[in-house]
Amino acid sequence: MGVEYKVNRLRATGNIRPLVDKHWGDLRAAKERGEKVAWASGPSFMFPYSMGMKCHFMAGYASYAGGIGAADELLRLAETTGDLPETCSYHRLHMGLVEAIKKGVPIKEQAILPLPDLLIAGRYCTEQSHYSESFYRRMGLRIAPLELPFVFNKEDRPRIREFVYRQIVENVIPNLEDVCEKPFDYDRLSEILSVLKKTATLRNECWKFLATKPATWTLWDYAVSMAPVIYMMGDPAGIPFYEDLLKELKERHEKGIPALAPEGEKYRIYWDGWIPWAFLGKFMRKFTPHGAVCLCGRYPWEMFPHPELIDPEHPLDTVVDWVYGEETGLACHMAPKGSIEMIGELIEEYSIDGLVMFSSKSCRMWNQSHLDQIDALDKKYGIPGVVIEADMIDPEMVQDSQIDTRLQALFETIDGRRRR
């Protein structure tokens, strides 16, 4: 009889929900408290935070809405405004939100946000400018745009870095100063980064337990624990959260308790692309019975993976180098060629057996050249991969049979290669 795998659930990750709820609750109540509010896309939300503004973050809000089960009603609302199903689901989600705010449509209360005083329109993914422009057209929101190109060739990186730095100084900061009627608070940005440095350092300690064999926890556990290094950035509550998580992981490891009962995983999987926020349980159920665990991925590794490089003394440079720094800049790993390098490093560090490229039909940022990436990585590391097509939050785009068949094929290929 085959092994019956079961997930060993972590206690510490359960502590994240109240922190996340508080974050979004504070944002919802900000206007009543007379605070200014911003919405942001791309890696730009730390600028409003530095001004003491409460700030939404496009992907963070989508994950939150997906997690609390509000995504579907927002997506259906977007349909009524003519947004087409092939449009990026995060875009549609926000158009649904705008419609709910505009018309007072009753939706899940926690999903309603106050309209912003300023939209920081980071254009990391080109789609993000369409979303900001739609806000402008529908609500007349004030916009501070910020072009954030991916780096396709490393020799282009220095001039792109300079360009982004200049835009922040020339456009983002003056807009914030104008809206908040005070000078930009570099000291606060430094404080935020000091807290982040501690939080991300602890988080990296936790990552080590994804590399253990068998794995001590999983990518899904980490995914639900990411808020302190993203949109909760600068909130000291993230530090005890990760301390507690680290303690539990150490204990588990010492006691030999793996992420998957009874004896640990059979397949160690790399996961590319967004996390399927609204369907985490569903995906877990697709991997677990096979003894497969997802351990790492490009997206979850975006959040300051090198805390040692965070320099609170040079806050603006730190933020810009997070995305455009030499070697480690995120934007270098977003273009397909650079991503091969990064995925290769993760394959080695986490002893990966197979690749799952999660391709959202409406988000082409993460699925650029997926098939060629698989081929290149297979040739270099001898690791097979599959593309599965679904969505992060839209249930109408998730078809089980296609996903199941492809995952089955992946596991069989790994088995076949092991037998060789």
Binding site: T87, T126, S129, D156, I160, A335
Partner: protein, 380 residues
């Protein structure tokens, strides 16, 4: 006029054979420029032949081993053509990767599977406020120029650039003239012929195309046509980056509509706005890119409304309605479309949207939509 037109039809009926033949005839290298904003003048000034990459008319086969079925038509068709070796006459390729996410698919796929001798990435920025935008754009164009100099081993002088700009500007003026005559006598050309005229400009050496256009214009000016009063004027809009299936244009006309002007990429958008022939040529090319109209949803412009612009164009042409041609899986257009539609509703402008798929299985649906559209705007 007929001779010029038949040459245009020949070029566009088999662009692969034409461009390959052009290379043989001129002994010059061919650089494929992915639409829509690669400044072809710089390639031309380098002594190379820029051609705008096109959507073929075959179903995608091998291409699907590289890109998903939910990429837009030209993305899939171009990858398919390239990996099947149908574009082997292209010595180089240029991609503006900040236009949309799908262009980002190409660099790795081409590098691994096609290996063009020259490949260049452009990062043309959206048209946001601030000096950093223009200076980055200038840097991008300088880097483009430098890469072509490295490729050819020859410097591109300002005079070379100005000469090319002049030739390209002339092409724009001539195409404008074709459109002007069409506005005066909309029956003079079929809509498919107009699209072929613009498309041929993207494929031919501009000098040759200018000559052809002069001949064509001469004929068009002389030709008198019987105006058909019952025809309803409509403006097609959109269809970014690619040609529309000619059959759809035929259906529009067969249903009693006529197109006096358009807002299509393989149409008036391609030749809109000239480059300032004076001053620094790279700066002049940058300035042309930075013009906000005709509004393009890939350029990050929000202070001008596409709907308002198109309604203006419709009124200027005394047209009665708008036909939006939305390429399936084209996010820039798709994201903009709901607001465009709302503007049309708000202003009481009749509008219909046709979704353009690369692989058309049946045109019946398109015909039905257009039929009811023409009925609502007062046709038969």
């Amino acid at each position: 006029m007929e001779k010029a037109l038949s040459k245009i039809v020949e070029v566009t009926s088999d662009p692969y054979a034409y461009v390959a033949g052009l290379k043989d005839r001129t002994q010059k290298k061919i650089i494929g420029c992915f639409p829509m904003y690669v400044p072809e003048e710089i390639v031309h000034a380098a002594g190379l032949i820029p051609v705008v990459i096109w959507r073929g008319n075959e179903s995608v086969t091998w291409g699907h081993a590289h890109v998903p079925a939910y990429d837009c038509g030209i993305t899939r068709s171009f990858v398919d053509d390239a990996v099947r070796g149908k574009l082997s006459f292209m010595d180089g390729m240029v991609f503006h990767v900040r236009q949309c996410l799908q262009v980002g698919e190409f660099p790795l796929i081409m590098e691994r599977n096609v290996k063009p001798a020259y490949q260049k990435i452009l990062y043309l920025p959206p048209i946001y406020k601030g000096d950093s935008i223009k200076s980055f754009l200038l840097g991008d164009l300088e880097s483009f120029k430098g890469s072509l100099e490295d490729f050819t081993g020859k410097k591109i002088s300002d005079d070379n650039l100005k000469e090319s700009i002049e030739i390209y500007n002339e092409n724009r003026s001539l195409l404008e003239r074709v459109y002007e005559i069409r506005r005066e006598k909309p029956e003079i050309l079929r809509a498919r012929e107009v699209m072929q005229i613009v498309w041929s400009s993207m494929l031919m050496l501009k000098e040759d195309h200018n000559e052809l256009l002069r001949e064509l214009i001469n004929g068009m000016e002389k030709k008198s046509v019987e105006p058909k009063k019952d025809r309803i004027k409509v403006i097609p809009v959109g269809c970014l980056c690619q040609t529309l299936q000619f059959d759809i244009l035929d259906i529009i006309e067969d249903l009693g509509m006529i197109i006096p002007d358009d807002d299509l990429y393989v149409g008036s958008r391609y030749f809109a706005n000239k480059v300032n022939p004076n001053g620094d040529p790279i700066e002049a090319l940058a300035d042309r890119y930075l013009v906000k109209t005709p509004l393009c949803p890939t350029k990050g412009v929000w202070d001008i409304d596409w709907g308002v612009e198109v309604i203006k164009q419709m009124k200027e042409n005394d047209a009665k309605g708008i036909i939006s041609i939305r390429v399936k899986y084209c996010p820039p257009h798709t994201c903009y479309y709901p607001d465009f539609k709302s503007k049309m509703v708000e202003e009481g402008v009749p509008e219909v949207m046709i979704e353009m798929e690369h692989e058309i299985i049946s045109l019946e649906g398109v015909k039905t939509r257009l039929q009811s559209f023409v009925e609502t705007i007062g046709g038969v």
